[in-house]
Symmetry: D2
Subunit: 342 residues, 4 copies
Amino acid sequence: MVKIGIVGGTGYTGVELLRILCAHPHAQLCAITSRTEAGRPVADLYPNLRGHTDLCFVEPSEAALAGCDLVFFATPHGVAMAQAPALLARGIKVVDLSADFRLRDLDVFAQWYGMTHSAPDWAAKAVYGLPELNRADIQSADLVAAPGCYPTAVQLALAPLLAAGLVDPSDLIADCKSGVSGAGRGANVGALFAEVNDSFKAYGVSGHRHLPEISQQLSIAAGTPVGLVFTPHLTPMTRGIHATCYARLTADADLQALFESTYADEPMVDVMPAGSHPETRSVRGSNQCRLAVHRAPGSDRVVVLAVEDNLVKGASGQAVQCMNLMLGLDESAGLGGIGLLP
Amino acid sequence: MVKIGIVGGTGYTGVELLRILCAHPHAQLCAITSRTEAGRPVADLYPNLRGHTDLCFVEPSEAALAGCDLVFFATPHGVAMAQAPALLARGIKVVDLSADFRLRDLDVFAQWYGMTHSAPDWAAKAVYGLPELNRADIQSADLVAAPGCYPTAVQLALAPLLAAGLVDPSDLIADCKSGVSGAGRGANVGALFAEVNDSFKAYGVSGHRHLPEISQQLSIAAGTPVGLVFTPHLTPMTRGIHATCYARLTADADLQALFESTYADEPMVDVMPAGSHPETRSVRGSNQCRLAVHRAPGSDRVVVLAVEDNLVKGASGQAVQCMNLMLGLDESAGLGGIGLLP
Amino acid sequence: MVKIGIVGGTGYTGVELLRILCAHPHAQLCAITSRTEAGRPVADLYPNLRGHTDLCFVEPSEAALAGCDLVFFATPHGVAMAQAPALLARGIKVVDLSADFRLRDLDVFAQWYGMTHSAPDWAAKAVYGLPELNRADIQSADLVAAPGCYPTAVQLALAPLLAAGLVDPSDLIADCKSGVSGAGRGANVGALFAEVNDSFKAYGVSGHRHLPEISQQLSIAAGTPVGLVFTPHLTPMTRGIHATCYARLTADADLQALFESTYADEPMVDVMPAGSHPETRSVRGSNQCRLAVHRAPGSDRVVVLAVEDNLVKGASGQAVQCMNLMLGLDESAGLGGIGLLP
Amino acid sequence: MVKIGIVGGTGYTGVELLRILCAHPHAQLCAITSRTEAGRPVADLYPNLRGHTDLCFVEPSEAALAGCDLVFFATPHGVAMAQAPALLARGIKVVDLSADFRLRDLDVFAQWYGMTHSAPDWAAKAVYGLPELNRADIQSADLVAAPGCYPTAVQLALAPLLAAGLVDPSDLIADCKSGVSGAGRGANVGALFAEVNDSFKAYGVSGHRHLPEISQQLSIAAGTPVGLVFTPHLTPMTRGIHATCYARLTADADLQALFESTYADEPMVDVMPAGSHPETRSVRGSNQCRLAVHRAPGSDRVVVLAVEDNLVKGASGQAVQCMNLMLGLDESAGLGGIGLLP
């Protein structure tokens, strides 16, 4: 059994890590830290875990995590860059679910996150944790930056087209819809039930922090800087992201075959039959990303639909997938859960 | 008081017509027909109307509607084209909420609706009922085709840009999200609560009946055929449409000023301040369409956000707005309801 | 036009007062105060009001409200008892939507609300604002305590049975279900969408602040102290209260006839036909309370079902109903809105 | 591996059986029948199962099921009584999720289900499948009637009190709230999203088919006929039942201790700490029933709160729990899934 710690486990990505790790066949959860909840059983905060773990939150400290093989950071940005280096120096591997190590250009980081990066050496060594695009590097990494929820869906949708050189990289649109759990468990008026139920809206149209991350990664996939319009929307559901991605075709190809062959050996990506419309509920609670590729009628546009559970493949499930790779376990271990439908 | 009839009032656009007309200061509801519910008080089927109307459904017949000044058809496609001509011949004005008279090219109609049009003369005379683009013609019309829900939002979002020649008409995208009431009150599995709650999906990506309607109307606004990608999505909410529209700018302009001046005198269109993100709930139950115009960061794309209540400005409210114009009433009469928020 | 002020209008009962008063035929909204939002247009905070009011929030002060005929307090408990007396001394009538003046026994108030009452004289003079039970007193009152949301539904459901002496007053159960807007617009984790969506729970089973209010009022109706079990539940919907009330019959009677005659002349209470099951959506946005009375099969229990919109008949609509009575207006003025269904 | 068949697997209890059995360590799913979907891959109808099973629906026939050790009936009432006897005669064990074998008194069955029972011999031999109350009989049964969703929650809540003789058996109330998936996957208007979203209502107050089942079982637990008022309500959520059960105490006892000791060794029942309010989401997708026991303030009433997932512990999970017992497997095999929260 590998020994695992979690820093900052009181938010939604934290409880989702707990749900996955409690049922993981090869992982032993050793410590979970929280300054505000220290001493409290995690199953008291999250009653779904009653009977599955006796762990209590502990005060954050290096000592608490010293015996771990790998530690997850499920913290707001700024925490992992401050605390992870000490763990890494002890030989403990780290998967960071926050944004601290996702961006290569630290000026861009400073611009979007409003703080100077305090661990630029580790930022340079960090590996971007999207296994489908980056598996080998993850396997040998000490520090992995788990991707954002929107970036995961958009990359899996658009990377095959960009890598194959079939679309104009300067003209990409990702119109994305997220469930409200993506806003986190912090007490803010905008995420109240009575504010978002039975309503729909866009947000951050003039700029969202996932834009530079997606652009960086799609540019890598394309081998050239991309032009991207990214529009996130808030949807009255708890979990789920639906990305509707538009690109202009510059060459003819069998798009269905391209996607099927690209992801043929991927355990966590499911290319649906031609003509399909994936539903977010089909991946509720599962680590799958489901894709469908369409040609817009009477147009040279390809439309790729991607769904994922923002808390699983978009966050904690993907982080465990990276953990499995980093520790030499079966990549799918603990991640075989079937989507809860209905 | 003008005398009003409704054909086929058991669906959601029917009950919404009733809700509006029961409170209309100048309209008297005289007859509402339904083959399946004849004899039943409408307030029995729709208890929100208890105390507001004593009307009962009656069997469909010309006689039932003979005394009306204007008749609404809230029926599936195919009904109005069969029954409206007889009423029109008696001098009764008609507003059709179905698709029968929206498309100018009857071959296109036949292709998308799977039936030959049976009233081509009236189809040629019908006026498209979007007052903001077509007010004068509506005022003098005998037969008005009330627009579809998606087409209303998309036209109000994109027409100003096309009319001003500021965007490339061949490269338009309308990514639209609708509440489930848009699917109607028919018993179908796909609209069950347990099928659509807490989930999100696209549908009809390879072709939806509102595509030819929107293309027709945007081409009129642009003065040239447009190229449009239209992607509808089903959202787990009851009412509301959110259109996220993308166009490529071909000239510089103050877009905020353009939208504000275009709609300055329009009682039913509200251009929000720069940087806004309209929510569908802000128009829940109201006849307003709220718009916000954004420039995508680092891009030549304009993004226009439009929200409406699909049953009001997207259907029954707009139909009453047309009725008001056709009968010489104040255009806003009965349509001043404030959106129900939260 | 009567001149109206609102103290503390940023919460949900505040925006609902605004929605009703903006459309009220005889009321002019003169001032709305908020310490946190002073200077901001109310339509900026609540975009549904755009085009309906130009009012801005102002700093709370007596001067701001000096010209009003009547002032509503839509504030947390403790505010009205501190600020209302000065207004009352100027001859301004007050309707308090908080709990400050609902309880007759100030020891009970202190016990449940954790503060000593600072205006006991006014507490003694305050009139409980449930028009159906208390109309004459409201008409002549200077200070009205608008009832809580749960107490309104439960009283309208059980008072007829208690007043008629048909049930055992010592054995009453009110199992109540509320939408989440009842928790207010404050930022608290428990009311987040991701916490309450697609889930259901009881709360406050060991004691809820509405228990002493309901007990006090039912005891008045019964003429003897009642025994009441009150169980509130949180329901994943925005608006609406459903009270399921149980009482043991001690005499035979035509219960349907009793309810119909009790409420025959009441504009805001609708007794549905025998066998009905009222839905909360039938009163969404309306000031109606709908009731249905059932005899449990094989039992001496009567089951009364009551639905209301917690923000309208359960709060702001009822407060305006009281305002109408206090100022000699038509009791139903501004309150004729039809429930928004679907 | 035991060999399992499912008759009628297209409904929600069917897909839930599939979700559980696909991940069951000791069960092999051999056949699933459906007249309407024969030939179609089950993963085509339920995309959450893509990658987890290649099974296709087959025409119902004895031959299709001949090799099974146990067959589930997930069919409307009337089917199992007609088809199960032939399978039982071949030595195949049967778990029926429908109502066919739940009621001991076949006159009562006929009265509530409108049909004469066609297999009275098997009805007499059938074992009621609530393991917590009936484990030994289930272990040796050939035919098990899986309980209804409401009856499971109400029995687990009230049986300990009745068995201990602490409450008046003639005065029980079960006020129950169910998610909409309980209405099944049939196309009916009343279960449409736009009909039930953001609304709440009671139904069947004058009589519901689960009333005789609950009464029968509680009478067995009490050792005397009980008097029960049962009120079901429809809640705008997909999964979950919340039972709020009221009983009058006739003796003093430590109720918390009673419940904790009663269920101390039960793997599927979780008695929460005193003062708790269980949420349905804490058991979403899990086979747990969570209970909390309260004393109503100032009253001799005990209030027991019970939550379950109506499709798991209320249907398919419980059916698999029975299967495990009948086939000598670990009772919890395949049922360890953690509730999906948020």
